[in-house]
Symmetry: C2
Subunit: 501 residues, 2 copies
């Protein structure tokens, strides 16, 4: 009996090796496409992605592979944690893919490659019409796929579950209602107060110096640059190719001191998570974050809870003043702190302040829920976007490039992904709260000493990779389930002090 | 009957799409590895390459695919030229791969990935011992594979045939004997003459200016940079990912004006070939050069016959003088021409002059032939290298980094590849001879007007891709088979004039 299990396990891991090899090549092709590949090569790339997906699908639907999963699934006590996590992973994955006819799944992958290229052009030209047919097809395909896969309650439950296992529309509705109930009043209190100065943020900051600064920040927070890559792309992202090959991008703007720094630290947080997963999980799909929201909690905690902290700004300020003498001539430390934490409803999610950020997510959540529900058409999407922007944030984009076309997600049919950004901030606040019981976080930030901080996260969060579901992991670490109050408390305290409300 | 053939063709092309998709991903992973991927990711990369090769092998040995090939092969008259070329291609490919047991073929691919990484480290450390076990394994595997595949005469015939269909050890022996008989005496005449000045070549040339210069040269000769990429790597190479995604690399040295320029124009010649293959061949393995030597003829014709030509130097000289005022203060046009065409036995093949180049190839041909024959051991290779360098070129490397470790080829088990470099120069000379009947090449070079020149090559050579075997193509273009005398005549005339022999 025991020998049988070992033989099955061995076969199971052999299949995983193949799936990981295919994943590796998809990742590298995507990295290549995002960091310089000529647009004229899109047809060949699209074919290759389709072919690789076809092989992936072929293994996922292989009766022998599925027999391995099913046979190991009945004896969880005789399997180690990793094997059990892998079984859960592939059971979910199987449900995500296997019920979709192979040809349609391949066509979908090929479609996404073209859609992403069309989105890039459409965004540049601020021409939603160029992208509309691709988005229509994506929505149609996602709805069709939900039918193939089956779902309980709302088809969107299926989509959010792909990124945040166990999450539902019902829970999300409650989450966003809570956030809206506490943060909108807070925003209202601040919105009419005098704005801090931000003129110096938009001075000229040479790209080369910004690059150097971003690299130093990555080194400071503990991202191992020699075990990865750091490049520029249109939309910043992180890719864990392997625990010793983790790739980040940022985007530099000459007239914005903060954009690249913030996105670098944000992606750096993702990257640190990927680099510090336990070595025994290497070469498996468990060598990544526990969920999308958990991943986002790590980028957010570095970007918001650490980088934007008064104590860290006191560390950063003299360094910036030294590097950018001219631009910082009349800038005091408090000016930098206020500018980094300015509250100002804006058009672009990735450059939104910490307080309004979740309202950007709320808007996207409601819109994609309506698209998937069929209560909103793709043709009406830009109008709906304008309306909700006005309603929640009081600002309206002047074109679709800074509106509905701003994010890459929908071009890749990543519906259900956006909510995890808001959940991530909530996890981050809860983790910061508990970290503060073990470490004197403020003095460490004031010294720019991230070693104990990153080590705490390595031990409490990173090492486990995706061994446990997010609901299990947050309780394991903090002794309680996700609690949105830590997030709202944190923001209320921070902005009350900052604006002397 | 006709309908049957069409159904078979359709299935055949469906398999080709899959093979091309796999090829695409291998190419991109190789490109990524050569242009920046962290070394720490080598294990994951090696696994992925092994997996992709496994799928490739799986299709190549698929009975259904092989039935398509066999069934179409019996009715060449009912198939178009492209289909017939594809059948020939896969029959050869099948012979190259299918007789090797799948596990061994996969292990070989994984070995090559590790071997290439080990070679890079060994080269940097000038430590042959670090690389030796990998090379031993490569030689052993290649000899074993030759047994699996079967061969007539010499096992090396099989290897050279992979790169230059139809070529044999017997023919190569004759070729190199001819070259040796005519070029060694020529070299002897020149070797003791006073050397031209080259001091200015080794002045400081800022990398950024060199990069700009290389880009201008690519534009000038007609490489479409927007349908490709141009980057830096340790060893310059060209990769045709797609006819609209052709990638080149070069390597810049601050204290060498010529190295990057020459390798850029060389790779540019390869790249122009890949970009101008007929569109109807796109997405098939026929959308490439007719053979390795034919490919090399295009890089060599741009590098040697065009770039090093007296007429082109008269065009280039004022531009360099303008860009590098300081470095060119005392440099006359004739100094540049002489320096570009200096004959000086040297250690590094890729930086060898046009005359001694083929002797570097002769040395490699003899050594790899001996390795494959089993008359030379991998352990004795460095010593044999030293001996032959002294014998043919009169110079001896001071370490293995500038000796046996200098080229990437053996690290990837590309035995049989080197001879194609010398054959390429011979094709180039023959093509130049016939081009001169149609075009006034010299005045065009003097104007830096490559348009008619590149167009002639597009029409005569490039458009056909690999539709025809090299022996057929050279006759189609020039009306006669490969004739080494054009090559020897060309070099004799050039150097006789230059050195006033």
């Amino acid at each position: 009996m025991c020998r049988d299990i070992n033989a099955t396990k061995e076969k199971f891991y052999e299949y995983i090796k193949q799936l990981q090899g295919l994943d590796y090549t998809s990742n590298i092709v995507f990295w290549d496409a995002s960091t310089g590949a000529p647009k004229s090569g899109v047809e060949a790339r699209s074919n290759a992605i389709g072919v690789i997906s076809g092989f992936y699908h072929h293994i996922m639907t292989d009766p022998d592979f599925n027999a391995c999963i099913d046979s190991l699934a009945v004896t969880p006590d005789e399997c180690d944690d990793l094997t059990n996590a892998l079984i859960r992973h592939y059971q979910r994955e199987r449900n995500r893919v296997a019920k979709i006819p192979a040809k349609e799944y391949e066509a979908f992958q090929a479609h996404i490659t073209k859609s992403a290229a069309a989105w890039e052009d459409a965004k540049e030209a601020c021409a939603y019409d160029q992208f509309k047919p691709y988005l229509e097809k994506s929505v149609e395909m996602m709805r069709q796929f939900a039918e193939y896969r089956g779902y309980s309650g709302h088809p969107y439950n299926l989509l959010i579950d792909d990124y945040e296992p166990g999450m539902t529309v019902e829970q999300l509705d409650v989450f966003f209602e809570t956030v809206k109930a506490r943060l909108v009043p807070l925003l209202k209190k601040i919105i009419d107060l005098p704005k801090p100065r931000t003129d110096f943020i938009a001075a000229a900051y040479p790209i080369e110096q910004q690059l150097h600064l971003s690299e130093s920040l990555l080194d400071l927070i503990g991202f191992k640059r020699d075990h990865g890559l750091f490049k520029e792309s249109v939309h910043p992202f992180t890719m864990g190719v392997d625990i010793e090959d983790v790739r980040l991008t940022t985007h530099f703007y000459e007239n914005d001191l903060l954009s690249a720094m913030l996105s670098t630290v944000h992606e750096g947080g993702h990257g640190i998570y990927e680099q510090n997963v336990g070595k025994q999980l290497r070469g498996t799909p468990i060598a990544t974050g526990a969920s999308n929201a958990f991943h986002e909690s790590q980028s957010r905690i570095y970007e918001n809870n650490f980088f934007r902290h008064k104590a860290f700004i006191s560390f950063l300020y003299p360094k910036l003043k030294e590097t950018f003498k001219e631009q910082f001539k009349t800038v005091a430390e408090i000016d930098l702190y206020r500018a980094v934490n300015i509250v100002e409803p804006s058009l672009i999610r990735t450059e939104a302040d910490e307080l309004t950020y979740s309202l950007h997510i709320l808007l996207r959540y409601e819109l994609e829920l309506a698209l998937i529900s069929g209560t909103l058409s793709v043709a009406d999407l830009p109008k709906a976007w304008y309306d909700k922007m006005e309603q929640y944030l009081g600002v309206v984009p002047s074109n679709d490039g800074e509106g509905v076309l701003q994010d890459v997600h929908w071009s890749e049919a990543l519906f259900g992904y956006f909510p995890t950004y808001a959940l991530g901030s909530a996890y981050a606040a809860q983790l910061y709260h508990y970290m503060s019981k073990d470490l004197a976080v403020e003095p460490l930030l004031a010294e720019g000493n991230f070693e104990p901080i990153t080590k705490w996260l390595n031990e409490k969060v990173h090492q486990y990779g995706a061994l446990y579901d997010p609901t299990v992991l947050i309780e394991k670490i903090t002794g309680e389930p996700l609690n949105a109050d830590y997030y709202c408390d944190y923001l209320e305290m921070k902005y009350t002090a900052l604006y002397q409300l």
